[in-house]
């Protein structure tokens, strides 16, 4: 039977996490995290320092394995970086090797090789961040983009470029996962939010946070306080 006459089916998620738990030795980072992220959606991950945002993102791209539960990217577990869909991941400018030449690094994902002979370590923090972001975003095709603190170190122009680039990739059908403390930047692009606090996760859609209107950084702050069950952390955001 043609799918046109049947019930409308949601697209298969690009990322599926079911009951995922993670611990480093005896220290539990989080437990029972479940989330589905469909193609063409942007998920923002929020949480205080040490809540496990980076760990969650590295689980999604297969750099580490969950201690409990199941992670699927496309139709298979992303173990050893072999996800079931092409992935672009960037963990921040500090992860770039300082000795690499910027022009060569930019060409690693198929981007154009520029004549830039500067070493990564000699670039400013913002320039390194842009280099890393532009390099992974030049990968094609991409089904899943995972960026850890992508706006860190970027000036307003570069921040706008990043937000537009992410929205463009989403509109092209990529699923995007972002972690950030910059709530206003997150609020400008995300369709869903995952709040990590006290070892647990709460997933909320943008339409649920502010029905009928755009989500702002203030909305996110209020929601985080609600999910965390306390107000002290919000002071560090102001």
């Amino acid at each position: 039977m043609s799918g046109m006459t049947g019930p409308c089916r949601a697209p298969r998620p690009v990322v599926t996490m079911r009951g995922v738990g993670m611990a480093y030795r005896r220290h539990e980072v989080f437990r029972d995290v479940s989330v589905d992220l469909a193609a063409g959606r942007i998920l923002g991950v929020l949480g205080p320092n040490g809540s496990g945002k980076t760990t969650l993102l590295r689980l999604m791209v297969g750099l580490i394995r969950a201690r409990a539960g199941q992670v699927l990217v496309g139709d298979r577990a992303p173990t050893h970086g072999m996800a079931g869909a092409p992935v672009a991941y960037f963990g921040g400018e500090a992860t770039l090797p300082g000795g690499a030449l910027a022009g060569e690094w930019a060409s690693l994902c198929g981007g154009e090789r520029s004549p830039d002979r500067q070493r990564v370590q000699s670039l400013s923090r913002g320039a390194r961040q842009q280099l890393g972001l532009r390099t992974v975003l030049s990968r094609s095709p991409i089904a899943l983009i995972v960026l850890d603190e992508p706006w860190e170190g970027l000036d307003p122009d570069a921040s706008r470029w990043l937000s537009r680039a992410l929205i463009a990739r989403r509109d092209e059908g990529a699923a995007v996962v972002l972690s950030s403390h910059r709530l206003h930047d997150l609020a400008g692009v995300c369709d869903e939010y995952l709040f990590l606090a006290n070892g647990t996760a709460t997933v909320v859609s943008a339409s649920h946070i502010n029905p009928g209107g755009p989500v702002t950084g203030e909305h996110l702050m209020v929601w985080f306080e609600r999910t965390r069950g306390g107000a002290q952390w919000s002071d560090s955001w102001r």
Partner: protein
């Protein structure tokens, strides 16, 4: 494999200083062979010494700083990444070694020190065991440890010093040959091993190959959690 190899080139797994030093030692070695073809040991030892540091390229130390994230999330199988890292780590030293060997064949009158059985065993051990041990250590530490063992054993005097000097003179025998090959491969450069001596060195070479397999397996199975840069 090619893309992974290129990644390690771009990520500068080897510093320019190390590559430059190896190239310089190769040129100096060729000069030595041109002047005195019988002094192949003098040409080969500095190259093997630098090779010991080059192969100790410290995969996990770099990976846990996120330096290899781009490659590890590219879809390349981890086994390919590990083998490319091994190939990239040993390539400069092996290339200079082959250059010296070619120079020795062209300039020398007989098969010389670079192609001796002891030299080949030493180069093979450094290229396998050195990389495998270095995978889990900070960069260059494997080379430092090897040198420390050599100097400690020589400096201790007595039986250990006599044993090492006997091996360097081609007089070693029995299982201690295998132990010395693992602990101080530099001493094997230029040594012409007799057939019975080769039999005692083969287990050490096998241990080197097995250690490479262990290191590849460790890379394939490892969780690469991010650590803050020091």
């Amino acid at each position: 494999m090619r893309a992974a190899f290129r990644f390690f080139w771009v990520a500068r797994v080897h510093s320019g200083l190390l590559l430059g030093s190896l190239a310089a030692m190769g040129v100096v070695g060729l000069g030595v062979l041109a002047v005195a073809p019988e002094r192949g040991v003098d040409a080969a030892v500095p190259v093997l010494l630098l090779h010991m540091f080059a192969v100790s390229s410290g995969f996990f130390a770099s990976a846990r700083r996120g330096h290899f994230d781009l490659l590890l999330t590219s879809g390349a199988p981890r086994r390919t990444v590990a083998l490319a890292h091994w190939a990239y780590s040993v390539a400069p030293g092996v290339a200079v070694w082959l250059l010296l060997g070619a120079g020795e064949l062209v300039l020398g009158s007989a098969p010389g020190a670079v192609w001796s059985t002891g030299s080949l065993a030493a180069a093979g051990l450094v290229s396998t065991l050195g990389w495998a041990v270095g995978v889990a250590l900070p960069r260059f530490l494997g080379g430092v440890v090897w040198l420390a063992i050599l100097f400690a054993a020589l400096g201790a005097g007595g039986a250990s010093r006599s044993l090492l000097l006997a091996v360097a003179d081609g007089q070693g025998a029995g299982w201690t040959l295998g132990v010395v090959a693992v602990a101080a491969p530099l001493l094997f450069v230029g040594v012409r091993l007799a057939a019975d001596q080769v039999l005692w060195v083969v287990p050490a070479l096998l241990a080197g190959v097995l250690s490479c397999g262990w290191a590849v397996r460790a890379i394939v199975r490892a969780d690469i959690a991010l650590q803050a840069a020091p």
